[in-house]
């Protein structure tokens, strides 16, 4: 009985969730599947097939995928190096690699705009060395660049955590049984860090897929992602039904990508450990 009383402590949270998670989800579904006059319609959802929308979705998927792959390729060696450091300096170095993530999201975008612009810092440096300038601002490349910068820590941390959890004697046991460094890497380290890799992929892919601010500020209006389409439907065209319908499609993609990733790992554990 005492136990039941304690369970009631979750009551306010359950009410809060019902009011601000479940209810809003129902509302967005309602808008997504109705017309402005309130009649049931699939048009908002199926409008994803319009060429503008479809192009934006495909571009979003492409950029999010590139961003995820780059983050993974950069993070895995980084996590290995961090993990191999002497424990004394390790705390400090991990700290150094998390710190930039805590800088305001918008200011990080601002910084990249400064660095990448035509008469910006990177091009001035390249010019001083009489090298050809880099003209990537207002292109998808700049957007991916900034996404990698923003989301890299989300990939590094779960992989690093998974790696730090591997007991040293597991590695020693593999060596003892005759495994060389390559075998240890592929047969022991990679499988044992898989849960971290999967968490990292989800944590990078989802925000990259759904972001609209980065493409808005670094794409110069030329890079239209599905997030931008949705944002414009709400804030410029005031077409809430269309925006909601496209949001529902986006949600489906988010859920599908997570389901796909989770089916590859034994469990999604380790996400925030």
């Amino acid at each position: 009985m005492r136990n039941l009383k304690r369970q009631l402590l979750a009551g306010p949270y359950i009410l809060w969730m019902a009011g601000f998670i479940v209810l809003p989800t129902l509302v967005i579904l309602y808008y997504g599947f109705t017309t402005t006059s309130g009649n049931f319609s699939l048009l908002n959802v199926t409008s994803i097939a319009f060429s503008v929308h479809l192009k934006a979705l495909v571009l979003s998927l492409k950029l999010a995928l590139s961003c995820t792959v780059i983050c993974l390729v950069l993070s895995y060696p980084l996590a290995m190096i961090l993990n191999s450091m002497k424990s004394k300096s390790q705390g400090l170095i991990v700290f150094i690699f998390i710190l930039p993530m805590w800088m305001n999201f918008m200011l990080r975008i601002l910084a990249w705009r400064l660095l990448l612009s035509n008469n910006g810092v990177i091009n001035s440096l390249l010019g001083a060395l009489s090298l050809p300038g880099l003209d990537i601002l207002n292109t998808p490349k700049a957007v991916v660049f900034c996404m990698v910068y923003d989301f890299l820590p989300f990939m590094v941390l779960p992989i690093y955590n998974a790696m730090a959890r591997i007991q040293p004697d597991i590695i020693e046991a593999a060596k003892d049984l005759g495994a060389g460094n390559i075998t240890i890497f592929f047969k022991i380290i990679v499988p044992l860090t898989m849960s971290g890799v999967i968490s990292g992929i989800i944590m990078v892919f989802v925000p990259a897929l759904t972001s609209f601010a980065i493409s808005d500020l670094l794409g110069g209006g030329k890079v239209l992602l599905i997030g931008n389409v949705i944002e414009q439907a709400f804030m410029q065209e005031y077409n809430w039904n269309l925006g909601s319908g496209l949001s529902v499609v986006l949600m489906v993609f988010v859920i599908a990508s997570m389901a796909l990733m989770n089916s590859h790992g034994d469990e999604g554990g380790g996400t925030f450990a």
Binding site: A10, M17, F20, F95, P100, M103, L107, G120, L217, S244
Partner: protein
């Protein structure tokens, strides 16, 4: 040795990638020139202009208020919820844990939009709606930090307190609370930083005239970049540095790390 130096170089390149943008912002904040890449001498002008800019300062105060208030309320709701969830078993618990993950994994833009759609039906968008939205996405961070501490705590000490004549409430505050406090604190700090950094949810749930720093900078950047922004970046970087140092190197966190 070869391998070691390759590792060093790799770390350095990533380090450069992470810090070069921040360094540029900091240097520019002291640059007495409107042009981006010309060094016009040292100045504190942009800091003075920043402090004199009432719109930015108001956004700054709003940001601090929203993040502190939302983190505090989320901490109370989340800690209570954790105690409740910890007492649950089986399917009820699984459902609660699954539901807690939704706002963490859902796209920010969808979270923001769905709440906006709900809010406009009942009230006007303003500071309150931003606050509610922030509390909503903050609660899971509290639960994720407090639940593991509840699981780790020794139940026998609580029972020993009851055995020695303590009331459940007294035993909770004297025995359980100190054991979960580190989790509550780190949850609070994590929630606060999530709230400080949020853009998308705030963008959709705020009313006209209300701005946090994120939405403010967003609007400004669409118009063009003003040097006060560099000064603001520098200040925010230093705040983040201090906060993170506090989180990572406060005595309690140390002790935990030593006896995992």
């Amino acid at each position: 040795m070869m391998k070691k130096s390759i590792e060093r170089i790799y770390l350095f390149v990533i380090f450069l990638f992470l810090y070069l943008p921040i360094l540029v912002l900091i240097v520019l904040s002291f640059n007495d020139s409107k042009a981006k890449v010309v060094w016009g001498g040292f100045t504190l002008r942009w800091y003075r202009e920043l402090l004199a800019n009432s719109a930015i300062m108001e956004a700054f105060y709003t940001t601090i208020f929203v993040s502190l208030a939302s983190a505090l309320i989320a901490t109370i709701l989340g800690t209570l919820a954790s105690l409740g969830i910890d007492a649950m078993r089986g399917r009820g618990k699984a459902i609660m844990l699954g539901a807690t993950n939704i706002p963490l994994l859902n796209a920010d833009i969808v979270t923001g939009i769905s709440m906006m759609l709900l809010f406009v039906r009942f009230t006007r968008l303003g500071l309150n709606t931003v606050l509610i939205a922030h509390i909503t996405f903050n609660i899971p961070y509290i639960i994720l930090n407090v639940l593991p501490k509840l699981k780790q705590r020794s139940r026998t000490t609580y029972e020993a307190a009851l055995d020695l004549g303590a009331t459940p409430l007294y035993a909770f505050f004297k025995i359980t609370w100190p054991q979960i406090l580190p989790g509550v604190l780190s949850g609070f700090l994590m929630a606060m930083t999530m709230s400080l950094d949020d853009f998308s949810v705030t963008y959709f749930t705020k009313g006209a005239g209300i701005n946090t720093l994120s939405t403010m900078i967003y609007t400004e950047m669409r118009k063009g970049i003003r040097p006060e922004m560099y000064a603001l970046s520098t200040i925010l970087f230093i705040i983040a540095l201090i906060l993170l140092l506090f989180m990572n190197f406060r005595p309690a966190a140390r002790k935990e790390r030593r006896n995992p």
